[in-house]
């Protein structure tokens, strides 16, 4: 069997196994429960009241006067305010939550030696790709569930579901997954480095913060290199906030490239690591 096909097949098996972990294991069900609780509070105490406020003409006028210059008035272009609030909240929250949810891609298996049993049957590249794909599938499920809840809220207030709402939800889902790709790949790297998911999260937060501070300092003295800040994972989030519609995909290339680089790094780290 050609190597590439075998790698992809193994990656698919790993991804499927991670999906089973979400739906069929205690730990996975706890993740689902935590997500449900989180989104219940966000929907109940943030999205629902804010949607009512946004729907009022007076608020929209005031918002346009204050934030119109920043392009944020584009938020009113979403078919329903619930999706606009969901868009902002998820763009800002999910990258951070992603660091926690996807931290254990390899750590536990490294710690308990399960990776030794797996490495006898599949390449380390397929392990990295499979676990990464699995985490993306798991996050897709969580995003879809929360989007369905938000759409239900909007449909209840509006009195029905429209095609425009479904289209907007699809745009949001695709964009969120694109935003989460480099963060999940970043956690692949850190989980290949250390044997504890907590340490992986700490390392990721410290590294991202340190990289931002160092880069900002560098740019302060050498302003010509300002463009470097644009290569940090998640920098396109601020550009995406005032946007809506499929035009948001014009920012897709950067996270895809970042993901490719970070996954290559994770594979290299795991390949060189003694199991």
């Amino acid at each position: 069997m050609p190597k590439l096909i075998m790698t992809l097949q193994h990656a698919g098996l790993y991804a499927g196994f991670e999906l089973r972990r979400l739906w069929l294991t205690r730990r996975g069900l706890m993740t689902l429960a935590a997500t449900t609780v989180l989104w219940f509070f966000l929907l109940r105490y943030a999205i629902a009241p804010a949607s009512d406020l946004i729907a009022s003409e007076g608020f929209q006028q005031m918002f346009r006067d204050v934030f119109g210059a920043f392009g944020l008035s584009q938020l009113f272009a979403w078919p329903v305010p619930e999706l606009a609030i969901y868009w902002i909240l998820s763009l800002l929250l999910l990258p951070l939550l992603c660091l926690f949810f996807t931290a254990n891609q390899l750590c536990s298996d490294l710690e308990r030696g399960t990776l030794r049993l797996l490495a006898l049957r599949s390449s380390r590249l397929s392990i990295v790709l499979g676990r990464f794909s699995g985490q993306m599938l798991v996050q897709s499920c969580l995003i879809l569930l929360s989007l369905v809840a938000t759409l239900s809220l909007a449909a209840w207030r509006e009195g029905g579901l429209t095609l425009a709402m479904l289209n907007a939800a699809a745009i949001i889902a695709v964009n969120l997954l694109l935003v989460l790709l480099p963060f999940t790949a970043l956690m692949s790297c850190f989980s290949a480095m250390v044997r504890s998911s907590r340490l992986a999260v700490s390392l990721a937060i410290v590294s991202l913060g340190l990289a931002f501070v160092l880069l900002s300092t560098f740019v302060f003295y050498f302003p010509d290199f300002l463009f470097l800040l644009g290569y940090m994972p998640g920098t396109q989030v601020m550009q995406l906030l005032p946007m809506q519609g499929w035009q948001t995909l014009q920012h897709a290339m950067l996270p895809l490239l970042q993901t490719l680089v970070l996954l290559s790094g994770a594979t290299m780290l795991l390949t060189r690591k003694a199991l």
Partner: protein
């Protein structure tokens, strides 16, 4: 004879500590090789290199002509790595199924294979149980079971019976013995009795170096051994009488009641009979007379 493992000038260091140095050996198809050595001799490091978990600093390890850890060896080489545990979130059956799927089996075949290998280690009833619910010994047996999924041609077992009760240790030895014709094994253990029963090839490691590499097939025909267990303590009279026997090359007292006699069979083909006649003639009683030396004697005795 087909070479299955070929190690050339392997060396590995961890920091300033040299764990393996200039290690070269070959194992052939059908061999059941014992890897023996004191703690810290480098046995687990050698295992890790052969499994592809570690890279040697110098030299190379090839299995079936491929670099250790290569994808060409998936499914051909299986192992019981030291301290490797199953994922506690899934049942043993689910994980064995998954390993089978990774080895290219269909879902149905993988499930049948899981049942078969669990039956090999007498764990059929634990198929649905999670690893965390099993005892240490059961987990160890399940870990041994995963090494037999599919049709491996070489199985590397690191301390396969450590922590098992005597009955299950016996079952594992019987399993290895039963499969040893079709599968090659390399077994690391501190249990010399066990290795003696199972292995035809011994690699003795000390301080990362190969001190001895003996094969039962290439025994020097000019020198054979008898191990004699007496019912009474050895005495000068017994030793003196045995030293008179034609063909005897050396005699030494391994333990208080145990004598090892080295002789040349070309000078006396019936040396064992001569020993028995000598004992009978003098009225000395013996417990048993074994041809050859024990592995312990081969490795650690001065002769």
């Amino acid at each position: 004879m087909n070479t299955i493992i070929q190690c050339q000038q392997l060396a590995k260091r961890f920091g300033s500590k040299t764990v393996l140095q200039q290690l070269s050996f070959e194992l052939h198809q059908g061999d059941v090789a014992a890897l023996i050595g004191p703690n810290g001799a480098g046995k687990t490091t050698l295992f890790s290199i052969l499994c592809g978990y570690l890279r040697p600093d110098i030299g190379n390890a090839r299995i079936f002509g491929h670099k250790a850890g290569s994808s060409a060896l998936f499914g051909k080489v299986a192992a019981l790595p030291q301290d490797a545990q199953f994922d506690p979130a899934f049942s043993i059956g689910e994980q064995l199924d998954f390993y089978g799927r990774l080895q290219g089996l269909s879902s149905k075949t993988a499930r049948e294979e899981s049942k078969r290998v669990l039956a090999l280690v007498d764990l059929t009833e634990q198929l649905q149980h999670k690893a965390g619910a099993l005892s240490h010994g059961m987990r160890k047996r399940a870990a041994i079971a995963q090494a037999f999924i599919g049709a491996p041609q070489l199985v590397l077992l690191d301390e396969p019976t450590a922590g098992l009760d005597p009955v299950n240790a016996l079952h594992i030895r019987q399993l290895i013995s039963r499969l040893s014709g079709e599968v090659s094994f390399m077994i690391s253990s501190h249990n010399i009795f066990e290795l003696e029963q199972l292995c035809n090839n011994v690699l003795y490691l000390e301080n990362g170096q190969l001190k001895q590499h003996s094969n039962s097939d290439n025994t020097v025909q000019q020198l054979q051994h008898l191990t004699l267990h007496l019912e009474q303590d050895n005495s000068d009279a017994i030793s003196a009488a045995l030293r008179q026997l034609p063909g005897l090359i050396d005699l030494h007292c391994a333990q208080r009641r145990e004598l090892v006699l080295s002789y040349n069979p070309q000078h006396n083909a019936d040396f064992d009979l001569a020993v028995l006649q000598c004992l009978a003639a003098n009225g000395w009683r013996y417990r048993n007379l074994t041809k050859g030396q024990t592995l312990e004697q081969k490795l650690f005795s001065p002769v």
